[in-house]
Symmetry: C2
Subunit: 218 residues, 2 copies
DNA sequence: TCCCTATCGATATTTTTTTATCGATATAAT
DNA sequence: ATTATATCGATAAAAAAATATCGATAGGGA
């Protein structure tokens, strides 16, 4: 049954769910109507039992023995679980190359994320428009955030502005920060943080590469 | 003792290690010489026992009772564990906004990652230079990768080019792909993949935000 | 129609990860 | 010099996560 309210679901499940979704969309494109946990597990390289348990958090209707799950309905369930249907407004602070890339990324619509505006201190970008979203001076951040009751902030500033801008976001009423800077932010418990940690990713990739090359040399 | 060779260390450790490193660098900047597992755990919001166990994978010298670990030597150990000292060359495919941001990002030096060149099919970027790295046509990718024996490819293309370009990378001899596209890549087992999954990150951030707001409303 | 089989969903088992405990010891205080 | 204490490092215990098992059942084929 679907997880209504606040039953605990582990972060690992949240990490795998979008992977299942990508697989389901690919299977749908291939014209498939049903998929079993075995097929899906094979596709995403997980264990079928794990897939069944994970999907049980999202699913609203039962799967059929001998056939598996209805792909269309499963896609809806997973998208719903991930919150892709309820739109979440966000502001972005630091409109450099990365900030521009994120403002211009059309994929966020799909995830239910709507970047309302960008903020920067640089006159060269203030006033510019990326993907229909305008860049404002950081002075005006607090006003807009509180007026529109925005809860999510995306942080793409240079390192030395990360903490001050995070503080400004929090003062303005932001309660969740998606941190693309490599800075360890000091924030109150009342604010959620997700660090997009390139260092970790790269370390994991290197480790895996090392393991693959090691296995071959033996 | 430090993990030499191929003793298994879990991905969770690899995820936390860069967080410890950031904390250690911050403590060093504050003039601290030693740090205990309790202090470090408090800083990164983990359990002291976990910190001790994690650090044991990286550490080469023992910590002192009543004092803790020597910060300078611990920083070296963790950087070594993460492979920041041995330089890893990489190529980047897809020099759009995100590709340019990554090519221009100076932080990668620190992690031991050296982007040697960018590749694209668009004449508007071919020939341009970002952060001292030139952009070449994708035709020339295979030649350069095999000549320089490069093992890591960074994928920042539009969605529809992701799989073909991943295939090209693999054919050229690339053995590890850092995938910034939201595409599920079909690749042989002999190639490591790390998906930089924005969908997962955002889902986790939303979940945390929801939990925080839920907790307050009760 | 009646069996055979693939699969679900629930639960039991196993494995992995995290946390707690404890003896040894270096440092600081008395 | 002696004592008290904070910490390490090893290991035991607990918790969490992943995997395997199994009865029930829908669908396909004899």
């Amino acid at each position: 049954m679907a997880d209504s309210g606040n039953n605990f679901v582990s972060l690992a499940v949240y990490n795998r769910m979008p992977v299942y979704l990508k697989a389901l969309l690919a299977l749908k494109r291939d014209g498939k109507k049903f998929v079993s946990s075995v097929i899906l597990a094979d596709y995403v390289r997980e264990n079928p039992s794990l897939v069944k348990k994970d999907l049980s958090y999202a699913i609203t209707s039962v799967g059929k023995p001998k056939v598996g799950y209805d792909i269309d309905s499963l896609i809806l369930d997973v998208e719903n679980f991930l919150g892709y249907n309820n739109v979440k407004d966000a502001v972005l602070v630091g409109v450099g190359k990365l900030g521009q890339a994120l403002m211009g990324y059309h994929g966020f619509d799909k995830y239910g994320l709507n970047i309302v505006a960008g903020f920067d201190i640089d006159d060269n970008v203030i006033g510019k428009v990326f993907n229909g979203k305008k860049v404002f001076p950081t002075d005006s951040l607090a006003g807009l955030v509180s007026k529109l009751n925005i809860k999510i902030g995306i942080l793409t500033t240079p390192q030395d502005h990360a903490q001050p801008m995070a503080d400004l976001l929090v003062q303005s009423g932001i309660r969740a920060i998606w941190n693309f800077t490599p800075v360890h932010l000091a924030l109150p418990d009342s604010v959620a943080v997700k660090n997009e940690d390139m260092a970790s990713s790269l370390a994991i990739l290197s480790k895996q590469l090392k393991e693959i090359l090691f296995k071959e040399s033996n």
